[in-house]
Amino acid sequence: MYPVARYVSFGDQALIVEFGNTISPEVNRRVHAFHDVISNAKLLGVCECVPTYRSLLITYDPEKVSYEKLVSKVKSLETKSRAGISERKARRAVVPVVYGGDFGPDITRVAQCHNLKESEVIQIHSGREYLVYMIGFIAGFPYLGELADEIATPRLESPRIRVPEGSVGIAERQTGIYPREAPGGWHIIGRTPLKLFDPSWQPPALLQSGDTVKFRPVSIDEFWQIHAAVSRGSYDPFIQE
């Protein structure tokens, strides 16, 4: 984490506020707390915010607010947001996954790579809660971390042309879920029946930056049961607190 946030201009309609130069839950939580503050402040001329691993992008309309004025307003809010980090309550989702087999063809390679049994890979992957660092790549794709070192695996040497919808993958110290079929270079270890993105939803993505996710191993039978419930719109993966 930087002692003082860095302010960088991006193009002529965006500002980036950068909090560190590492991928870590600490830096990322700082980004989310700051994102909450900026969204709630509804500053004149601010259009949208994009939280990422270590920075928040803020787009603005230069006809409504000057860059200098925006920076000074955002800076004063940044000081306030430092207090808010501990208060922030994350939404917690439980994501059912069928590991291995046809749904997770790369789990064998991941296990071999780390001298583990497949069951151990499953245990490690589903054994901790992950933070949604950011949404990117394709609409609704959550970048989750941190993955345990014991199963951290580099990307595939040559990416697949088609990774099926719902695939759960790992790459380096991250894990993620493909909201739809797409090309991809992550090791695919399982699949979820959950739907992650639907433009008719408000908001359109199931998961949002700052949420937490825990994976729960399920059988193929349960996968299809949940799949049916998801199609009916009657499955809620969030823990009610």
Binding site: F10, G11, E48, A139
Partner: protein, 324 residues
């Protein structure tokens, strides 16, 4: 009233024709790109020529135009890259209001200069709004006609109860853009300027770069002298916007365009200024791009001049009225 009315049937779809408006805003944080017209200037003018709100949806035509059969009387306009417009084998003009009658066949040719043309219809193209926009985003099958490019047999709908214009408008000749094979694009340096050596920045600003065949609505890969980076490791992925110029390890720039993904890890040396995006949107393979450094103040001034120019044009168009 939002009642759909069939306006055209697609006889030939052209090379890559999609429905676009000015884009989908407010969903970047969910990974949804902005999309929208690659050349917003031409899209706005196409709309203004048929008396629409400049933000309405039009057809964006790429390289080769479609052939359409009119299912209803309509008023249309064609702007953007130079393309031949024929209505029932009669040559017609771009950059002015055109009248089409039921059963007329509108055939657009091959784009001679520029890369994208726009066809507007009086009232706007009527496809469902998805997340506040009618723009097609093919990669996620979102917006437009079933989230894809036009195909033979599609019906293009407009709105019922839209009164036809009682006159025709035309864009004054000196406001019709020239589409050159070599363009200058102004850029604001950063946000990851510190990932590059001084020599790298110098290379970027002093050499022309050629658009390769890997160029589409997501972005353009450029060919030219490699831009030197300080380190070869990529940066931590962060947000990207259309116009960002990313430099991967091979040193060859990638310009992100309207359908680009919302995050990426290549360091960004600069970003095109907003008011030059429509110029980039008309660049095609084998065209050359030169990057000129601009300050943020220059960029903001250029943007307000650009907006003024569009207002001035709106007035000029009204004065060009020719009654039927």
């Amino acid at each position: 009233m939002n009642i759909a009315m069939k306006l055209f049937r697609v006889i030939k779809p052209g090379f890559f024709t999609t429905v676009q408006d000015l884009g989908r805003y407010g969903f970047l944080k969910y990974g949804v790109p902005i999309s929208g017209a690659m050349d917003d200037f031409s899209l706005r003018l196409a709309n203004m020529l048929v008396g629409n709100d400049p933000r309405e949806a039009c057809l964006e035509i790429t390289m080769l135009g479609p052939e359409l059969e009119a299912l209803h009387d309509a008023q249309i306009a064609v702007t953007g890259g130079d393309i031949s417009v024929r209505i029932n084998d009669q040559d017609s003009q771009m950059w002015q209001t055109l009248r089409v009658k039921t059963r007329d066949v509108v055939a657009l040719g091959k784009i001679q200069a520029g890369c994208r043309s726009y066809l507007s219809v009086r009232g706007g193209v009527n496809v469902p709004m998805v997340l506040g926009s009618r723009s097609t985003y093919v990669r996620c099958e979102m917006g437009g006609i079933q989230g894809r490019q036009l195909k033979t047999g599609d019906d293009i709908e407009g709105f019922e109860a839209i009164q036809p214009l009682g006159f025709a408008l035309s864009v004054p000749r000196d406001f019709v853009p020239d589409f050159c094979a070599e363009v200058n694009v102004r850029v604001v340096l950063g946000p990851q300027l510190d990932s590059f050596t001084e020599k790298g920045v110098e290379t970027f600003l002093s050499n022309p770069y050629m658009v390769t065949i890997e160029a589409d609505r997501m972005g353009y890969r450029l060919e030219g002298p490699a831009i030197e980076r300080k380190e070869l490791v990529d940066t931590i992925s962060d947000a990207i916007l259309p116009g960002a110029i990313q430099i991967p390890a091979n040193g060859k720039p990638i310009i992100t365009m309207q359908d680009a993904q919302t995050t990426g890890g290549y360091p960004k040396i600069a970003a095109a200024i907003s008011s030059d995006m429509h110029i980039l949107g008309q660049a095609k393979p084998n065209n050359w791009v030169r990057f000129q450094r601009a300050t943020l103040l220059d960029a903001h001034r250029a943007l307000s001049e650009y907006n003024d120019k569009i207002c001035i044009l709106a007035n000029k168009l009204l004065r060009s009225r020719i009654s039927y």
